[in-house]
Symmetry: C2
Subunit: 336 residues, 2 copies
């Protein structure tokens, strides 16, 4: 039998904790026998939630943690002070090797800081990028960095491109993934100082399939598999996806309610529409991995429902089995 | 009678020139007696197009320009070499005072460079931002800078905030417009170096109504009237608007075509949907002004149709009558 994939799940993080988190964990273990979940958080609450489900007890363990890090807390201080929080406990379980990965819907800041400070970076990795999958017309693309490291340098972006390529190839099965850098025009001479400095470095990097600039307008088309940018820009892209999408869907819905005729039409199109729009929902694809750490840290949306937690846990299987971190190490060491 | 507003229109710029440009110009003068349009470009072509329409000849003049600046040309060189191009001629007409404003759907680079080099900046203005109106759930917001000046400094962003406030108050009629800075979190300590440096400057600026950070996700909600950011980020926001919007509308349409039931529904919802989605189309609002120049330069989409050209020309009336540039001068001089 193959080795189990051990995943620590922060049962107390996110707006829908612990209910949806526990539900997602159960769904994951019931779907795949290769996973063992460690639910980290307040034991009595978790036990209570678990009563709702049937599952194989060999695939689940509760790890008590008394404290909770709130979203509004300054993350560095929170990580330092709240040693008995669900996030910090989960981080140590990865660091010490009890777990291969952790999934948290809790404070983004705390997850990013904890990942770097507790789990630690792979030797040679300068900055670990947050790398969510975003939906496109053709499937999904990986966007990195998406919020972990503002004011990045060009060398960081080159590492993002390499790590992102490994991820897309090994976890998502995209052969020779196309890498693009977010730019404000298609020509090589366009861009700000960082992009102009990074462009030739990517162009001359033999380990990636660099295809040049990608304009934000074209990201949803899905022509580029690995989209590289610094964290501020990546965060803006991700949030525009969510914001414009939500606003437009609201418009579509209200547009359909303007006349009796359109209301009847709305009833008829609803089921089909729901299905297609689902494929454009970022939460369908699981959380965002923080790449380049000694272990896998996955950050899901604060608003995560069970499905995102489940998908994030299942992601960890491919991550381990495909030996992503070993491949990242090779790429990074090759560079030095 | 009030003074006429003289607008130079680059008849050769954009994907749909000269047909849609001339059409938009005619629609503008037929709609408003206060405008006189100078169609700049190849005289024979323009004359041919004009045969299709009836209009008051006192409101229209043709200014011959032999050359055309192509989108792919390096802008600085093009502006310097092609003195007899429709863009350069239009720029000089504004500089020399024959026209109050110019509208072009041509090369963005050439319009930005020409605006700075030929039309020239208002004394005290460090960088003229490109400031499109973007649709929101509540109406429109002004996004600046949107592509004119990459690698901006904090002092530039403060000027953008002031100029944008003047525009929203005087042209769009928004009382005491709310100003926000694009950030990756709501808290003051969040952001990259530029945002952290700019935030306190905006907070302590008595001439604007600064309400703090705005996350990209919340831009479509329309809570902020003047959205300030540096050009790279602004360009990404604008293009994500267009890209995500287009991708989602395509999804909605294909979703409706998946079953007979939904196809019938689609027929019923179509008219209502078309109307609501129109309000989310950036082209409905006219082009983007380049603020802070000695005259008004309006850049429209390369794909502009007549409606955008018309709306851009009509925008120039409010700009002149509301003495926007005098108000900008006051705000900027006050600062020094």
């Amino acid at each position: 039998m193959a080795e189990m994939v051990n995943v620590a799940v922060d049962a107390m993080g996110g707006d829908n904790a612990p209910g949806e988190i526990v539900k997602g964990a159960i769904e994951a273990i019931n779907e795949d026998k290769r996973v063992k979940v460690f639910l980290v958080g307040r034991e009595p609450v978790i036990t209570e939630e678990l009563k709702k489900y049937t599952y194989d007890p060999a695939q689940l363990e509760i790890v008590h943690a008394e404290e909770i890090i709130e979203t509004a807390e300054p993350p560095v201080m929170a990580i330092r002070k709240k040693k008995d929080s669900s996030i910090v406990r989960s981080m140590y379980m990865v660091k010490e090797g009890t777990c291969d990965a952790l999934v948290s819907a809790g404070s983004t800041g705390a997850v990013l800081v904890g990942g770097q400070v507790i789990v630690g970076r792979i030797k040679g990795v300068e900055r670990p990028p947050l790398a969510p999958l975003i939906p496109t017309e053709k499937g999904v693309s990986l966007l990195l960095d998406c919020g972990a490291n503002v004011d990045a340098r060009s060398s960081h972006l080159v590492q993002f491109a390499k790590m992102g390529s490994v991820y897309m190839e090994s976890v998502m099965g995209v052969k020779n993934p196309k890498v693009g850098i977010v730019n404000i025009g298609a020509e090589e001479e366009k861009g700000n100082a960082l992009v102009k400095e990074t462009f030739p470095l990517l162009k001359n990097c033999p380990e990636i399939n660099f295809i040049g600039s990608v304009e934000a307008r074209d990201i949803p088309l899905g022509e580029v598999d690995v989209i590289v940018c610094e964290a501020f820009v990546g965060n803006v892209i991700l949030k525009m996806y969510e914001g414009v999408g939500a606003a437009l869907i609201k418009k579509v819905k209200s547009g359909m309610m303007t006349s009796l005729r359109s209301k009847i039409g709305a009833l008829l199109v609803k089921p089909a529409l729901k299905k297609t729009l689902k494929s454009f929902d970022t939460e369908e694809y699981g959380g965002a991995p923080l790449l380049g750490l000694n272990g896998l840290v996955v950050k899901t949306h604060g608003s995560s429902k069970a499905i995102e937690i489940k998908n994030s846990i299942l992601q960890c299987i491919a991550f381990k089995e495909q030996k992503i971190n070993e491949k990242i190490k090779e790429k990074i060491i090759l560079e030095d």
